[in-house]
Amino acid sequence: MTRLLCASFERRFPGGPTIEAALQHPLDVFSVTALIGPSGCGKTTVLRSLAGLDVPQTGRIAFGQEVWFDAGRRLSLRPQERGIGYLFQEFALFPHLTVIDNIGFGLARAARREAAHRVGELVTLLKLSGLEARYPHELSGGQQQRVALARTVASRPRLLLLDEPLSALDAPTRAELRRDLRQLLAGWAIPTLIVTHDPTEVVAFADEVVVLSDGRVRQHGPVQEVFGSPVDGDVARIVGRISD
């Protein structure tokens, strides 16, 4: 039986919007699901709820047989217990630590030699050689993004959550990393959920797409299907089939 990430929950903000999410993502085969929608539609809230950074009011999140969140049982695993990797939109690199210390930050419990080996591998793979002793403010946007990505995967997460991984970059760097990112993700073979507002990124990375609007899931399916036959005008506009 294929293991799935099954999430169905509702997050209400006092005096603000309500975000309803329902999604599934296969865990045994490598696949990327993109969450797309206009800004403020709740994409990041969905990702934060999956990570345990935000706690929904109702619903359930299960990672295969493992229950991460169950409102009925008042159960909510902490982010530390979920074994996830979360890439923040602005990268959230630790400003007081060097590139090498940022990448190895989550490996404090691993054996020193094993940690050094893993960090070294990622430095080479992500073309960060020569930058090991630099601090985040001494790096370009693209380099910061690669350090953040290396840090996120260094602890071998079971699920990757990427929040607008390219939005903080300038256009040429974005184009370059868009090409590399899918290849890197496939190489690590970690199930991935990616939040974006850019339909070209969905086409470049994702196998499945979840379209969110006004805090609700409007359509969920393979990228070709959703982009080929959007259920309504709203979805068509979000996936770029109708220009504003």
Binding site: Q80, G83, I84, F88, A92, G106
Partner: protein, 218 residues
């Protein structure tokens, strides 16, 4: 120069700063994050010494720690001595009076750390305590240290609460500020001038140190 009073004053200021670091920092951690609405009451209580006359605070501490009060009886049973007119008594009063001078800068320093960095650490599997030690504190240490230095400086000049709770016992509760008052009462202006100059000089040194700490690099 009244060296006994200087030694006592430095001891009161050191003990006050150490206690406020140990107790004020956890309180500041709690105050720095969004929490229940009644937290506002705690914030108000912490800020109270900023507006309350020291004599009023000292009066309440004196009343609350007397030998016939629950706190007084509990303290006497535990340590075999009383709080009013003793060194621990004036340290307690000084801690309460200096609460805002430590907790407010601590809270501001902790709030200045981007919460995303803390969340990033949690998502990397690092516990809350280790995240505080490895991320929050290294990024907020300047503000925390500035708060501690200010507390120390402020505690050095303690007068009202100390006089109310400790009285004027040489070598036990007679701090430098109390000694200055005493000297002036006895018309010994020379002794008062020496002690005042000492306090003025140390306050200037300490405030310069704080300015140096909080100044942003060019």
């Amino acid at each position: 120069m009244d060296w006994t009073a200087i030694r006592l004053t430095l001891s009161v200021a050191s003990c006050t700063s150490a206690l406020l670091f140990a107790l004020g920092l956890p309180l500041a951690v709690w105050l720095a994050r969004p929490g229940p609405r009644w937290r506002l009451v705690v914030e108000a209580v912490v800020a109270l010494p900023l507006v309350l006359p020291p004599t009023v605070l000292g009066f309440y501490v004196l009343c609350a720690t007397g030998p016939h009060t629950p706190i007084g009886r509990w303290y006497e049973a535990l340590f075999g001595s009383r709080l009013p007119f003793t060194f621990p008594g004036i340290v307690l009063a000084s801690v309460l009076y200096n609460l805002p001078f430590a907790v407010r800068p601590f809270t501001a320093a902790l709030q200045s750390v981007d919460h995303k960095l803390v969340e990033a650490s949690w998502c990397l599997g690092v516990s809350r305590l280790a995240t505080f030690r490895r991320i929050t504190l290294p990024l907020a240490w300047k503000g925390v240290l500035a708060g501690l230095v200010l507390t120390f400086a402020h505690a050095m000049g303690e007068f009202g609460v100390v006089l109310m709770v400790g009285g004027n016992i040489p070598g036990v509760t007679r701090t430098l500020s109390v000694a200055i008052y005493d000297d002036v009462q006895a018309l010994d202006y020379s002794a008062a001038a020496h002690s005042s100059l000492f306090l003025l000089g140390s306050a200037l040194v300490v405030l310069s140190a704080v300015q140096l700490l909080v100044r942003k690099p060019a």
